[in-house]
Subunit: 241 residues, 2 copies
């Protein structure tokens, strides 16, 4: 029988420990945004490890967006941008096998609510931007421009909500829906005219501050997107690319 239990030994590689140690200092606030980290040489001394290990640890932090190379290539603490968070999340989800159906379903559930909020919160210049986007979509001949405009419409609404958490999530959806639509919507004039019209109705509702109408038309807008996808006879359950 066992008389005493030993805890499993600490077998993390050193470079992970280095990464964690620095991360700890950052998230705890001891190293605020913009603070300069010690040089690699100093980190070696302080941790008592070699530069190779320190550098590998730094790479982990670099990828997670907590530090970047600043002036004189010194390491600087920074906060990841929303767009980076969204890009990372959407890339991971895509690689994890997310399907168009999942993305669309989420979009269809969340964006009408976002539109509702936008009706009470969107700034006038954001509404102006939406009108420009709508015009560009109407003029678009090229398929890429069509998709870009459709996505930009969402993006502008999301950005105008004055909520970083919501923006990060909606932006992730925008990226995924864009990547998905780009491979599908070539020439689907019927779907396009419907999208143009839905956008105009949404813009009108936002301008009037009518929450219900904004949500209602955004919901129809989502249906139009789905229709475009179906017209192209694409597989809803295929991985987005």
């Amino acid at each position: 029988m066992s008389s005493h239990k030993f805890k499993t030994l600490d077998r993390e590689p050193v470079y992970v420990k280095v990464s964690r140690a620095i991360e700890q200092e950052i998230v705890s606030g001891a190293l605020p945004e913009g603070a300069l980290l010690p040089t690699e040489g100093e980190l070696c001394e302080q941790f008592g490890v070699t530069r190779s290990s320190v550098r590998e640890g730094i790479r982990l932090l670099e990828q997670s967006g907590l530090v970047e190379r600043g002036p004189a290539k010194r390491l600087v603490v920074r906060a990841p941008k929303i767009s980076e968070i969204a890009a990372t999340a959407s890339r991971s989800l895509a690689h994890g096998g997310a399907t168009f159906r999942e993305v669309w379903e989420t979009l269809a559930l969340f964006y009408p609510q976002a539109a509702r909020l936008a009706a009470t919160r969107l700034a006038p210049d954001a509404i102006g931007e939406l009108k420009d986007i709508n015009q560009r979509l109407r003029d678009s001949e090229n398929g890429d421009v069509t998709v870009d405009s459709a996505v930009a419409f969402f993006q502008t609404i999301a950005a105008g909500l004055d909520n970083r958490v919501m923006l990060a999530m909606l932006q992730s959806l925008n990226i995924m829906i864009g990547a998905s639509l780009a491979h599908v919507i070539g020439e689907t004039p019927r779907a396009k005219t419907r999208i143009v019209e839905a956008q105009q109705k949404i813009i009108a509702a936002l301008e009037a501050g009518d929450e219900d109408k904004a949500a209602e038309w955004m919901s129809r807008h989502m249906d139009d997107l789905m229709r475009g996808y179906q017209v192209a006879k694409a597989d809803l359950d295929a991985r987005i690319l």
Copy 2:
């Protein structure tokens, strides 16, 4: 005047190029999930760089969740788990200064919709789990258990929606709201009883498949959470920790 324009030279560090090269092979599908990557030595040969650079490049991939050390410590391609995606996103948002107000607002906007979907989709055993959680919340004396139960309730609903994209986003919110509430809800019996009741109403609506009631009570549930926060007289615009 300048007679010819040169493109800016490629001054990415080698380890970044290594990382990108491997990432490209993975996202393109050439290296499917579970595939073994070449050994570090082989990568050195193929890329024509030293092990130091290869290893630093690998760290970038490691942190982004695209590879992990498999049997015999060989590198294996893998898909990041939803929980990791959510953890990364929420950590980044928290570090980026997200406030309780932002998190709650997003929660309040999205979760009623999630409940609506859950009413038509949640499996019976998930509903059973919700009942267990509600019971545990009712019995809870300890503040931590209270918070855990409240979060677990959300988590179970999110997990039952059969949609990885939605799950990732809702789970991010769960993590952030949990971290936030943990620092605030100590003993707020009034808020707790309201939360218990709201959960019960939601469970009943889900069981009956009543979308509107599920959304309605989830919405009130969100209000109760906010009330708990206000009872604790916490600053809504402070960074979540």
